[in-house]
Symmetry: C2
Subunit: 235 residues, 2 copies
């Protein structure tokens, strides 16, 4: 049975890193002594070590230990032995490339399906979908595949942004980009606003947080869903 | 000798498609009777035919004919015989995938190096750089490579957007994304604001348009350059 939190962002405006999620960590990781951290997305190019230290500080507030996958000699073994996994945000292309290079993409997928609790934020949430193809990130590196963990049977767009009606900018809006995704792909996409997350437990998939989320399905008009909405049958 | 216009956007706020570029078309394509249009990026999923009709309407205002590559049986032959090439905007991942699938990426590269005039807007400009890795687009399809035309020896970020100092959004700014690009890649990146373009002629590379552009080099602070700046030695 899958247990997971897939959060749009790690950090809310005027808050500390993971602050709004800390109170939910003990329930997700309750039986675990130590959680494995995947720092591969390296936001802003910081080192794995610096990133792990930052995440460990937040986890300590929930009484949990965190150890970076970079501290293990064998990443595959680290995943297989993990009692819980947290993948932080950053660049999704880099994250996915490193997961494949270290041969842990399928290992994490299997572990999560077998019940290892998983948390992702931003890029770490993007890979919780069927593919990373609704990321907002720049393709700074060429990954061997766009296929990801498929913890949920749809795609996620983290940091979802509503169109600005006053904008004079001619770059595509997020909604237009997701429409382009659906000109080629068929799975639904959830636009997760910052502060929202998808919760998986007891065989249920639920929208959490204070805001609505936006659901995009191929050839349909997008629509809003309220927090608490059961998404178990969305696919 | 390369002759090219690499424009940030096709359309300015409150203007028609290509309106601000139409007066520059006769100089770029002056000896040409018919320009080859590459509609592969298909903005918003429209058909190649619809997209070609839209572009042809704008080219007609400059007294030029435009024919879509989709109207030819053999795309490679179409490129080799082209008297000029215009690649429109849309999704860069789709554009690059289709250029490779139709085996014309290298053909266009060779044609442009041999003097066939080239114009790109948005995605069509992005591929004018060494790679498509500073695109803003979603990876809606998996291309066989991120390497592109290299009409200029650096990368381009079209639709460049300055950070909004009042934003409470925690998604990466454009500047942060380009910094992440430089954590892995070394070529310079030009952030081209809407209304700016890079002009190549007489062995010179020049910034054109009314606005400044922003130059990003690995391990250096980004800086602004004025319109008219000679970029011939940037690499």
């Amino acid at each position: 049975m899958i247990k997971a939190i897939l959060a749009s962002t790690s950090t809310l405006h005027n808050q500390d890193y993971l602050e709004y999620l800390v109170s939910h960590l003990p329930e997700l990781f309750k039986d675990e002594e130590e959680v494995l951290f995947i720092p591969y997305a390296r936001p802003g190019g910081i080192s794995h070590k610096e990133y792990t230290a930052k995440a460990a500080e937040a986890f300590a507030k929930a009484g949990l230990k965190l150890k970076g996958i970079n501290e293990f000699q064998n990443p595959v073994e680290a995943v297989n032995k993990a009692q819980g996994i947290f993948t932080g945000g950053g660049n999704t292309f880099l994250l996915v490339s490193e997961l494949y290079r270290n041969k842990v993409m399928n290992e994490i997928k299997t572990a999560v399906r077998n019940g290892t609790p998983y948390m992702g934020t931003s890029a770490g949430t993007n890979i919780g979908g069927l593919s990373m193809q609704t990321t907002n990130d720049m393709p700074i590196v060429y990954p061997p595949s766009f296929q990801t963990l498929g913890i949920v049977p749809f795609n996620i767009n983290p940091h979802y942004l509503d169109p600005d009606p006053n904008s004079e900018h001619k770059g595509e809006t997020r909604e237009t980009r997701i429409k382009e995704f659906h000109s080629i792909n068929s799975q639904p996409v959830i636009g997760l606003r910052e502060g929202s997350w998808i919760d998986l437990k007891d065989n249920k998939v639920t929208l959490k947080g204070e805001l609505q989320a936006r659901v995009f399905e191929k050839d349909k008009l997008p629509f809003e869903i309220e927090t608490g909405t059961d998404l178990t049958d969305l696919n």
